[in-house]
């Protein structure tokens, strides 16, 4: 008795769930169409980007290709289905003859085509769907200079070492240009008097530029009193 009622309840829930899903699928007012399209586009991005994110940790997991394919396809196919296919099905079902016959099968054909597309795209994923995670393939070269300074009573003396790739050194304080060095050795000495004080401390900035004039490093130093 108890088991029967539980089974009945469960089948009732499943039946009601199926009916609710169908009614949502075929809902055809403007707002329903927009909400369904928006939700599926959102889900599509979620699956596409999420699938790629998992793929970066689990490279070679084939299943993820299908998640990515599903996400990318549903982003376009979801709105297409609910803005074009479902309204057509509803309109054509009111007609007689050939269009009515097409309408009765169009939703099944549509979902079948979608699943087939997911299987094909998931099996042979185009490069555009798969994000690249090779983050260390820059064309530039590493520049790792070091700036060492000595603070004397009246001056500050600095030397830049490990300066490969540096073409220009510009020393400023409070926006005023103090020294410009165009070639090594990058050694300079600046008087404390010409440095601008800010919140009780004199500061200077050493900006390193490459051959194109692009900034590659910037050191900001406070001068001890």
């Amino acid at each position: 008795m108890f088991e029967t009622s539980v089974v009945e309840m469960l089948t009732g829930v499943v039946r009601q769930g199926w009916r609710d899903m169908l009614s949502v699928y075929y809902a055809n007012t403007l707002i329903w169409k927009l909400l369904k399209s928006g939700a599926l586009a959102f889900l599509g991005v979620f699956c596409w980007a999420g699938g790629n994110l998992f793929r970066s940790y689990l490279p070679g997991t084939t299943f993820l290709n299908y998640v990515i394919a599903y996400g990318a396809l549903v982003f376009f196919y979801g709105p297409f289905t609910h803005l074009v296919i479902v309204p057509l099905v509803i309109r054509w079902r009111r007609k007689r003859g050939f269009l009515n016959k097409v309408a009765r099968r169009l939703s099944k054909v549509n979902i079948t085509v979608f699943i087939l597309l997911v299987l094909i795209v998931g099996t042979y994923p185009p490069g555009a769907l798969l994000l690249d995670f090779d983050v260390s393939s820059g064309s530039g070269t590493d520049i790792n200079p070091e700036l060492a300074c000595e603070y004397n009573e009246k001056t500050v003396a600095c030397e830049l070492t490990e300066a490969e790739g540096v073409a220009q050194v510009v020393v400023t304080s409070g926006g005023n240009e103090l020294v410009v060095l165009q070639e090594p050795p990058y050694v300079f000495e600046v008087s404390r008097d010409v440095m601008v004080e800010s919140v009780g401390q004199k500061r200077f900035v050493v900006e390193l530029r490459d051959e194109d004039g692009s900034m590659v490093r910037r050191f900001s130093r406070a001068v001890p009193p």
Partner: protein, 571 residues
């Protein structure tokens, strides 16, 4: 023309009855709501303008600004949108939730005016200080982290603005005091209660901010010889994140108000909703601690208590509201005979009314985008993969740009119709605008998150994806996502501009029209049934919350999985 915006028909005591809400509204309250609301819209215009430079620089294909200009524009974008647009609106909300809902005149109006003037002065000084920043000062962005100095005018402006906000909030507190002293007794209405919670949280945040900026100002003008940078960071975040918690609680209050007025929602359980507001008062400001989760000076115990225990008190409150408000819409609409099937109550709602659509998009997107990510990244452990990346920027665009801003856009439309009594200009565009903004800003926000999570693309830097100068390390793989971001950011700016065009055109050119049936929930004010609201089905809301739970679990589990893969043990 401008002064004509303040003309409504009041009786000899200065009151009128609102045809939409039925509230007795006094001229003083209404005019001050209008003034603060209009000022907020101007701040949105300014901040929105600066978003063009910010997004079109981060979209490195365009690369509009150099590094120095970018940081200025970013600072102006942040202050105008995160602070001025929000706080001016929130003062307006206090005046709606207080004197308007309680049917009282706004007390101490001179203080309200002084508060407005002081806030405007502070906002202007801050904008000027940031725009004219020059070495050795740095543009402050939002944080103005010491010991990097910003213009002394900036700190002074911040102090003036905060003082103005406190002054402007005083008439609200006096209204509540008057209500309790001379009113009819009983509980405050829920909207007033929410506004009261907002005001308490605001005072905590503002006082903390006042201490932080006075401290920094005294250091900047060299009255103090040094500043404790760690102490400043703690003090700053009482207002830095506290101001965003004011946004949250004000936004939830607006949700209750607008879903009821234009959507036909009923509060299913006042006790439960009030309890959630009380939870906010106790716990929400502790959420600020997540900004210091990577800060070496605070102990692990401090971090875990604030961000992994106490903060769940606030999360619990948000989950209550997340159920209570949609459930209120569902039960209320079913009670009005407007709820067929599982989601009929939602889809037959007045979606062409931008007040309603903006409010519902705000609820959905705040929950799914801003809320889930806030809880995830607010955790001690998971914060490590989010902190300092564009994912963080994505999170707060989910809360502020999608949640609060869309809700406030809805509120502005409501004020234009019910208080300025202007027909919304460009009717179809007005109806479509919340859809356009919600859609485009959602995708821009998601791209920010994915760029942060997938590639750890850093925030606050004007150019990093195409090339990192002087480094072989490259983030160029993130370029496809950056391209999608750039397009949607541009579309979101256009959609935001559409809001400003509709709002300003309605005010300046719109036909005067007394609001009525176009705003009242369909089915009117009469219910089809006398049954109490909680007797009605809420299974649609239940399904939505199950979907929300599934999304929450998916994001939560995935983030823990990714974190666990960072330090693999064994061969």
């Amino acid at each position: 023309m401008i002064f004509g915006l303040f003309d409504n028909d009041y009786d000899e005591d200065g009151f009128r009855t609102c045809g939409v809400t039925g509230m007795e509204i006094h001229r003083t309250a209404e005019n001050h709501v209008k003034v603060f609301g209009l000022t907020a819209v101007v701040a949105l215009l300014v901040g929105g303008f600066f978003s063009i430079g910010v997004s079109m620089t981060r979209w490195e294909l365009v690369g509009l600004l150099g590094s120095e200009s970018f940081y200025k524009w970013l600072s102006l974008h942040a202050w105008n949108l995160l602070i001025f647009w929000m706080v001016f609106m929130e003062i307006a909300i206090l005046y709606v939730g207080g004197p308007m809902v309680l049917g009282r005149r706004l007390p101490i109006t001179k203080v309200a005016k002084l508060g407005w003037g002081t806030m405007v002065t502070g906002a202007l000084v801050i904008n000027y200080a940031i725009w004219t920043t020059s070495a050795p000062d740095q543009a402050p962005l939002l944080t103005s982290y010491a010991p990097l100095p910003s213009s002394p005018y900036f700190y002074a402006g911040a102090i003036v603005f905060i003082l103005g906000s406190v002054l402007a909030a005083l008439p609200f507190f006096v209204t509540l005091w008057q209500e309790k002293k001379w009113g009819e007794g009983g509980s405050l209405p829920l909207v007033t209660f929410g506004a009261f919670a907002t005001a308490i949280i605001a005072v905590e945040a503002l006082v903390g901010g006042l201490i932080a900026f006075v401290y920094a100002f005294l250091w900047r003008i060299e009255f103090l010889g040094s500043i404790d940078a760690a102490l400043y960071r703690q003090l700053f975040w009482t207002i830095g994140h506290g101001s965003q918690q004011i946004n949250l609680v004000a936004m939830v209050t607006v949700w209750y108000f607008l879903t009821h007025v234009v959507g036909g929602a009923e509060v299913v359980s006042e006790k439960v909703s009030r309890t959630a507001f009380v939870f906010y008062v106790f716990f929400i400001n502790l959420g600020a601690a997540h900004h210091l989760l990577s800060d070496p000076v605070v102990s692990s115990g401090w971090r875990i208590w604030n961000a992994s225990y106490a903060f769940y008190g606030a999360t619990f409150a948000s989950l209550i509201h997340a159920f209570a408000i949609p459930a209120g819409i569902e039960a209320g609409r079913r009670k009005r005979g407007q709820g067929g099937g599982l989601f009929g109550w939602l889809t037959n709602a007045p979606w062409s009314n931008p007040v309603f659509s903006a409010t519902v998009f705000s609820i959905i997107l705040f929950g799914f985008v801003g809320g889930i990510t806030g809880v995830v990244m607010g955790q001690l452990q998971l914060n490590m993969t989010w902190s300092r990346t564009l994912a963080t920027v994505g999170h707060f665009h989910g809360t502020v740009a999608l949640g609060t801003t869309i809700a406030f856009m809805g509120l502005v439309y409501f004020v234009i119709r019910t208080m300025f009594m202007r027909d919304l200009a460009f009717g179809r565009l007005a109806s479509a605008q919340p859809f356009l903004y919600a859609g485009t800003m959602t995708f821009a926000t998601l791209m920010l998150m994915y760029m942060g999570l997938l590639y750890s693309v850093p925030r606050r830097i004007h150019s990093v994806v195409r090339e990192i100068p002087g480094s072989d390390f490259s983030l160029s793989a993130a370029e496809p996502l950056m391209m999608i971001f750039g397009v949607f950011a541009l579309l979101a700016i256009v959609s935001g501009a559409a809001f400003l065009i509709v709002a300003l055109a309605s005010l300046l050119l719109g036909e005067r029209k007394v609001p009525g049936a176009d705003l009242v929930p369909d089915g009117g004010v009469n219910f089809e049934s006398d049954e109490p609201v909680h007797k009605f089905e809420m299974r649609g809301t239940f399904v939505i919350t199950l979907i929300f739970l599934a999304a929450f679990l998916a994001v939560y589990i995935a983030n823990w999985y990714f974190l666990s893969r960072l330090w693999e043990i064994g061969p």
